[in-house]
Subunit: 324 residues, 2 copies
């Protein structure tokens, strides 16, 4: 990797900021590559995301928040696989206008989440770009061989579950964009915080190994991500609208939003886990750090149906949104 | 990872092109993450590079060549660590103007080098950008636990070696930029090919496990990369200018270049291996697919000296160049 090579280049400053974050196997970011070894009974789970300033984030957020969100969307993928986080690499393409203060603040965000989630920086690369800042994080987790959660194991008769509350991020984005004007301030702040800073459900993901039949994280939206499970598993799934869990702030927002609770179905960025398995997992796992709610059923067929309080399907114009 | 999530987005097309490249543990690019397990006696070696259109490549090269070079600069890092290549992830940030033909040709380059080097696509991400195309490859290799080659093991008394011939890439770049006008066409073509398409020294790197005391690939330039070894090892190194190996085309170019053989010392992008070890490794390994030449010595001290034919040090204005 060229993070080491850039020691004398324009971005030597980045290595200076990053070197204190180097973990086991990173060789202090001074070698051609880094080394990571899972335990002999484990395999490595790998996930990666790229974000672009002005596309995936506004650009004027605190840099530490951008760093935390970049790590956490990837940590959420590890949670969906039931993996224990271990390490990560980072690739920076930065415009010349980015200043040391920004890099320092970004690294503060990294350092805080390294501590919080028990991960270390393994290496990376830093280059300059005439375009917008473009950041890639690749996260490495560990799971016992063959026990990583997949999307393709849902079977007819399984129950559909979701962790925590969905919709907060979508309502938070509405609020950031000037919507939900009548929302009380505490609720507004809670929703925006959920949009800005995902809480990856890592403990739940690991607890679901060997219990859930399929899992995904809610990044595109509840219906879209359950749809990914249904497609990979070759089954149909249904969601009972009334059972979809909202937070207190989410309920207050849904009461004000044009499309009510629909944002909770199609909004992305919640980073909860949606998963399938035998009946009763809500009781087994609901006592943990995050509640688990049974919201629907798996059946033979294809697609995802949302069932209203009257027992009839609810039509959705979109099944999710995405950044591209 | 969001390569799967982008199935319905603007870059669903990328998944369609990439899906046939998916290797073991990639789950057909349809899951939240991928899985890779080194053998129980091995560890994973990880390296990553980012390239930006207009910065690291011109942009009008054939896309398959950009793909191959991106993989190979990383494969060269694996070679420097003595690792056997296994798999890779790819992150694309692409402007809207990039067309399907470009993506298809890029994937042809990936497919060819997957075959050539025995690697499979593990996953990735694709997003759009208002800026230039920005591509990140992260390569995974495997080496027996504790046997990966490092930069920090050179000791006073060791011999310094380099594989193949150095300088070709630097002379090739000169030729591409309109220099070396009197060079004969076959030599010009050979040098440009070396600049465009690195040949990672993987077999040599693996053969050097347990034999070389330190190794790096020549990406910044021979003096700079030997300098990295010297710095990491806490030693000094010297290079005998007369012994630095040039190719036939490189010798022809050096005879025409303003600074003669200096480009072979400070030019980057050769992707040969520079390494240290006991005397005689040139005879042990020189019979392989690539020659190995003894070019200098390791001593106590710091820094890298280049010794001319008269036995006096040669002054270099630069010790290497870098892309940033």
């Amino acid at each position: 990797m060229t993070m080491a090579m850039s020691a004398k280049g324009e971005f030597g400053r980045i290595r200076d900021f990053l070197a204190p974050l180097a973990g086991d196997g990173a060789f202090g970011l001074t070698d051609d590559a880094a080394v990571i070894a899972p335990s002999p009974v484990s395999e490595l789970v790998v996930t990666t995301d790229t974000v672009v300033a002005g596309v995936h984030y506004i650009g004027d957020e605190p840099a530490r928040e951008i760093a935390a969100k970049l790590l956490r969307v990837n940590l959420s993928d590890l949670a969906a696989m039931g993996a224990q986080p271990r390490a990560y690499t980072l690739n920076f393409a930065l415009p010349a206008a980015i200043e040391d203060d920004w890099v320092a603040d970004f690294c503060t965000g990294l350092a805080e989440d390294q501590q919080r989630f028990g991960i270390g920086l393994l290496g990376g690369d830093s280059v300059s770009t005439p375009g917008p800042a473009t950041l890639t994080a690749t996260l490495f987790g560990e799971a016992p061989v063959g026990e990583a959660l997949r999307r393709n194991g849902a079977r007819a008769g399984d129950t559909v579950y979701v962790s925590g509350a969905v919709g907060d991020a979508a309502y938070g984005l509405m609020a950031l964009q000037g919507g939900l004007a009548d929302l009380e301030e505490a609720h507004r702040a809670a929703l925006i915080a959920r949009y800005r800073l995902p809480q990856p459900r890592l403990a739940l993901g690991m607890a679901l190994r060997g219990r859930a039949t399929a899992a995904a994280d809610v990044s595109d939206g509840l219906v879209a991500d359950l749809g990914h499970i249904a497609e990979a598993s070759g089954v149909a799934a249904s969601i009972r609208l009334a059972d979809v869990p909202l937070s207190d702030a989410g309920r207050a927002a849904a009461a004000l939003a044009d499309d009510g609770k629909v944002a909770a179905l199609i909004g992305g960025d919640d980073y909860e886990l949606v998963f399938t398995g035998p009946a009763g997992l809500d009781r087994s796992f609901g006592g943990g750090s995050v509640p688990v709610t049974a919201i629907g059923e798996v059946a033979e067929g294809t697609g995802v149906a949302v069932i209203g309080a009257d027992g009839d399907p609810v039509a959705l114009e979109r099944t999710g949104w995405r950044h591209n």
